[in-house]
């Protein structure tokens, strides 16, 4: 007699340790196999875009912190770039260098959380502890610079809120030296671990054309094998001065574009960020006022602008319409996590329920940014 299965609906979340925030996944399952996933979002919706319309341009910066709270520096930076482009502000060179250093430190911190919690979801405890130990040191560097550990409000339109601490360069170099062995350790403990590979290789394969059609960017797109990085391909700030590689998935452990590939892109990108920071520290101009270009009053001309930056999760875009007033007429954010969450249904179909955590971890979403 054939085994009789019945389609049933299972709710995962909104309170679930593996959903990385308040996300509800409505699973349609047949036995252990998933046939459909419907994400329900909006639990953290706080109308960021409506708030912006009631704020002056410089007052929006703290709100951007609270979107992708694991990469706040980058959110500040993207917003600042958009307003600077709208107003035609040139920032001093020292500011650009400090922004790159902070942005790349933030990328390491964010990838450390992504890689660590990804292992945690699958049942590997130890790498998470190593990575959080090192992320802690990055947060200390940030705290030393601007007083905050998570929500910085550091990169302002036209400049920075504070100059770096006299010890910052030395301590950052020390950190980078000690961080490189951690990556090797994570590789030995997690990346090439047989159990981990069994759980992630050939799971949630994302073909390249599907990824592009869905608008995927960042490690999710690069994991599918396309070397596309806005830092190189649509360069902003001073990224054209640095030498770094764009990491892509190779399909080393299974199919190209599987969960393992997306994970491994992040691990290697941390080392590329280390390379960028080292170069930036070498070239950092010694003197310069970081607040010299901050405008007293921001009143851009009528018009609109779309700028994008390579956030740790992908393309973070800000679309700002100005009607010539001191408040923005409309601010629209393109959050990478929002776009990536949409592919969940495609990636999970036909997999086991336990693979959903692996797939969700590998696209690395932050719900604060999905819901805004």
């Amino acid at each position: 007699m054939a085994l009789k299965t019945e389609r049933m609906v299972l709710n995962m979340g909104p309170q679930h340790p593996s959903t990385h925030g308040v996300l509800r996944l409505e699973l349609e399952i047949e036995g252990e196999l998933v046939t459909k996933v419907t994400p329900h979002i909006g639990y953290l919706h706080r109308c960021f875009e409506k708030h912006c319309e009631a704020m002056m341009y410089n007052q929006v910066v703290p709100y951007t912190d609270r979107m992708d709270y694991l990469a706040s520096m980058y959110n500040n930076w993207g917003y600042a770039l958009a307003v600077e482009k709208l107003c035609g502000i040139q920032v001093p060179e020292r500011v650009e260098y400090i922004r790159v250093i902070m942005g790349e430190l933030q990328r390491i911190a964010s990838h450390a959380v992504a890689v660590g919690t990804f292992g945690l979801d699958i049942g590997a405890w130890t790498p998470f502890l190593y990575l959080f130990r090192d992320r802690e040191r990055i947060l200390t560097l940030f705290e030393m610079t601007c007083g905050a550990r998570l929500l910085y409000n550091y990169i302002w339109v036209g400049g920075l809120s504070h100059d770096i601490h006299p010890d910052f360069v030395r301590m950052t170099r020390e950190f980078l030296e000690s961080f490189k062995p951690t990556v090797t350790e994570v590789n030995n403990l997690l990346s090439y671990n047989k159990i981990f590979i069994e759980r992630t290789a050939n799971i949630g394969v994302l073909p390249l054309d599907t990824a592009i059609n869905y608008g995927c960017t960042g490690p999710t797109l690069r994991g599918s094998g396309l070397a596309y990085d806005l830092r190189r391909d649509d360069t902003y700030s001073i990224y054209n001065k640095f030498d770094f590689n764009v990491i892509t998935g190779q399909g080393l452990q299974g199919t190209l574009g599987d969960t393992w590939d997306r994970y491994y892109v992040r691990v290697q990108e941390m080392l590329e960020s280390v390379k960028i920071i080292e170069q930036a520290l070498d070239q950092l101009p010694a003197e310069g006022d970081v607040q010299s270009a901050i405008p007293k009053r921001i009143k851009p001309p009528k018009g609109h602008v779309y700028t994008r930056v390579e956030n740790p999760r992908g393309e973070l875009g800000y679309f700002i319409i100005s009607d010539g007033n001191t408040n923005p007429f409309r601010v629209k954010v393109r959050p990478p996590s929002f776009v990536h969450l949409e592919i969940m249904d495609d990636l999970t179909r036909g997999h086991l329920i336990s693979d959903i955590m692996a797939i969700l971890g590998s696209i690395d979403i932050v719900l604060g940014e999905v819901d805004r």
Binding site: I41, G215, K332, V339, D371
Partner: protein
Amino acid sequence: MKTREEIFEILKAQFPDAVLGIDASLPTEPLISIDPLKIKDICVFLRDSEELKFDSLMLLSGVDDANGTKTKDEQGHDVITGGTLSVYYHLDSVYLKHRVTLKVSAPRENPDVESVSYVWRSADWHEREAFDLLGINFLNHPNLIRILMPYDWEGYPLRKDYKNPEFYLGMKVN
């Protein structure tokens, strides 16, 4: 790689009726205006044309232009009648590395825009968001329901004349 002006010329030659014009006077990026009911055909052309190849939709954003007549109701809240709601499309070609911005405007009372979710899958959620927050009606969208606000919410929060509700499901708001 093509400039926005070149892309406009190609589109204008292909769709003389549906492409309304280009606004290059803005300080930043030129904007191509399109008929809201022809946008899907134009997007299919932009995606499939060999020389353009716009394979990804970066961002789709709804905007309340607030260009109608403004009046006050008895409680002193703004009410806008007439004017338009707009949708901006930021397209990107991953391989050819050029970008273009399209804009459609639909009347505020009857904001019908053709859906492009069959052209780019990413448009699905972006269009749901524009529907949710601005009430733009995307024709032929597969699943046009609210996405960020609760499914039974009333009103469209990002409209410029949005009035906060006093109660939601019998609970006091604020």
